[in-house]
């Protein structure tokens, strides 16, 4: 192996950690990548640390419920708390008004008080729910160590004004322009600002684009223009220290283009509302009443590595804890007939067979 830099390869992590450690709200990950928090502790944990810096995250919206807004809000709020620059684009007339609806972080006291009942409950749970609580305990340890990296947000309390009145928050309405050129320009100046100082990433930025192809926008019928915009945005984000989150309604994109969009995404997430009175589903899943919706992870960013990310489960339920904090939980099948085997109905049968040791009961 002719290598001019013998210290490269998997040993380079320490070098990069020294370089990025100072940036607030950025966590060092494997393969020389770094993570930004998504603003939802559980989602960070599912994705293996958060959104990879330099990746393009796409959220497929549900046509009936605005669950994607929850994800966007938490993502944006988390950035503002870390004082990271933010660019927000939306088809609304007044995108800046949306900033007033961002959630505010919970006080640490409250955070502790809501952790406790969960721990107590864990002792009482029966075997088929064990795994979930192992995961949660781990995340608490992480949360304790990196308290600033990811906050819990109180969805009922708006973010204080001083967080977003600064000059580093940029808003743009998609409705005014006949094409995507102005937005692209804003994105490129935004990412140029981030990576200004001699190529080194000094701060991380967040770009949030809501409902990119919604019918209010004049360009919503120009498939190729939108695709090339996404591709350019991906290139920009990759070379600068930013994460772009785009949400879009998949039903408005034609099937072949939808596939193209999905291929362009580094991380692909979809949210789905669950109907109120679905009795069959209510029978199948425990805790159905508290569920807001379902979140599926289709793709996890693979930057600097070729190994695919294999998740334990791909579908999670979105719940509101105490009606304020958004949490994600593995789906738990209710023990209806007893023959359903593992409680992880969503993880494939192959992984189930390999893990049968843990789930033996």
């Amino acid at each position: 192996m002719a290598s001019s830099r013998p210290r490269g390869g998997s040993f380079s992590r320490n070098i990069s950690s020294a370089a990025t450690a100072q940036i607030p709200g950025v966590k060092v990950g494997p393969n020389g990548t770094s993570f930004l928090s998504s603003g939802i502790p559980d989602l960070d944990q599912i994705l293996g640390g958060g959104f990879t810096l330099g990746s393009l995250v796409m959220i497929m919206e549900d046509p009936e419920a605005p669950h994607h807004m929850l994800l966007l809000r938490n993502f944006m709020s988390q950035g503002l708390i870390h004082k990271q620059p933010l660019l927000y684009a939306s088809p609304e007339r007044d995108p800046r008004g949306f900033l007033g609806t961002l959630p505010s972080p919970m006080a640490s006291k409250e955070e502790k008080s809501h952790e406790r009942p969960a721990e107590q409950d864990a002792n009482l749970r029966i075997a088929w729910q064990y795994k979930k609580y192992f995961g949660e305990q781990n995340s608490e340890v992480q949360r304790g160590g990196k308290a600033e990296y990811c906050n819990d947000f109180d969805l009922r309390k708006p973010l204080e004004r001083h967080f977003y009145s600064g000059q580093r928050v940029d808003c743009i309405s998609l409705r005014d322009s006949p094409n995507l050129a102005p937005l692209l320009e804003r994105c490129s100046t935004f990412s140029a600002q981030i990576s200004k100082s001699d190529g080194n990433i000094t701060c991380a930025g967040r770009i949030a684009i809501q409902s990119l192809c919604s019918p209010q926008c004049d360009f919503s019928d120009k498939d190729w223009e939108m695709l090339s915009f996404i591709r350019s945005l991906k290139g920009m984000v990759r070379s600068s220290g930013a994460v772009a989150v785009i949400s879009f309604p998949p039903s408005l994109v034609s099937p072949t283009f939808l596939k193209r969009w999905q291929h362009l995404a580094d991380t692909l997430i979809s949210v789905k509302a669950i109907p109120d009175e679905d009795k069959e589903l209510a029978k199948l899943l425990t805790g159905y009443q508290d569920m807001l919706g379902l979140l599926s992870v289709h793709k996890v960013a693979r930057i600097n590595t070729q190994v695919p990310a294999i998740l334990e489960a791909t579908t999670f339920s979105m719940k509101l804890r105490k009606r304020r904090a958004l949490v994600l939980e593995c789906l738990n099948q209710a023990p209806v007939d007893g023959s359903s085997g593992s409680s992880y109905g969503t993880s494939g049968s192959c992984s189930g067979s390999s893990k049968s040791g843990n789930l033996d009961f």
Partner: protein, 254 residues
């Protein structure tokens, strides 16, 4: 370095004598990029003097460098030794709104660059096979604003290099994009021109941690000694690791 014929993929693809077109197809659930990395590494084995021209639309150089370094192949060194050319097309934009000519110009310029590189490399001493790799073709279409005719023209231009200099081609494309009738011609033409078609797909039962997916390799086969051409299809499972990919027949993994 490990044995050339060590794995099932090598066996299915066969020994390359140059002038071969390999098409890799994947889908959203399972990326086929690792097959590309495999061919990249194989072309850059130290005991040959083959060269690679890599046209990247999908990732920057650092991404490939890091992956290949883990596989025991240093792209930076190969670049210095004139065995590896990296054309970063991440920001290639064939400007629109000015008619068709400009779109074509971007790809023409790219073809010019490729041809120049091939000319230089083939004039260097030693018998060498030059492999041209494209990652990935669907993004060329995006760069060309959806005119798949221009992309096809570009690819046909590239294929002329095969006759002239004996270049090999390895291209990545996404199969699931081409489901509607008006987008079909591109992938059909690509498959028609290919000698080897490799499809990467996830298992029907979903992703598992010990079996990542299935590869099906259609080798249209060079004309064998007896005169008849034989096309072979092989299916096997794979598991991608950082430094190597395991290939095995279903159920034979220990």
């Amino acid at each position: 370095m490990d044995n050339l014929c060590a794995n099932l993929l090598e066996e299915a693809v066969g020994i390359s004598k140059g002038g071969r077109v390999v098409v890799v197809e994947d889908c959203v659930q399972m990326s086929g990029a690792f097959v590309l990395h495999h061919f990249l590494k194989r072309s850059l084995y130290p005991d040959t003097s083959d060269a690679v021209i890599f046209i990247a639309f999908a990732h920057p150089f650092s991404h490939y460098e890091r992956i290949l370094r883990k596989m025991g192949c240093n792209l930076t060194v190969h670049r210095k030794n004139h065995r590896f050319v990296f054309l970063d097309m991440l920001t290639l934009e064939c400007p629109d709104r000015n008619g068709k000519e400009t779109r074509q110009d971007g790809l023409l310029a790219l073809y010019g660059e490729i041809e120049k590189a091939v000319e230089i490399y083939s004039s260097l001493e030693g018998s060498r096979i030059i492999t041209i790799m494209i990652d990935d073709i669907s993004l060329i279409e995006v760069a060309a604003n959806g005119s798949s005719n221009h992309v096809l023209d570009f690819l046909h231009y590239c294929y002329t290099l095969k006759a002239k200099y004996g270049c090999s081609f390895v291209t990545l494309n996404h199969e699931d994009i081409y489901s509607s009738a008006n987008t079909l011609p591109l992938i059909l033409q690509l498959e028609y021109l290919a000698d080897v078609i490799i499809k990467a797909e996830p298992l029907a039962t979903g992703l598992a941690s010990d079996v990542h997916g299935q590869l099906s390799v259609l080798n249209k086969g060079s004309v064998c000694d007896l005169g008849g051409s034989s096309s072979k299809v092989r299916n096997f499972h794979f598991r991608v690791k950082e430094n190597i990919v395991d290939y095995f027949y279903p159920g034979t993994q220990t």
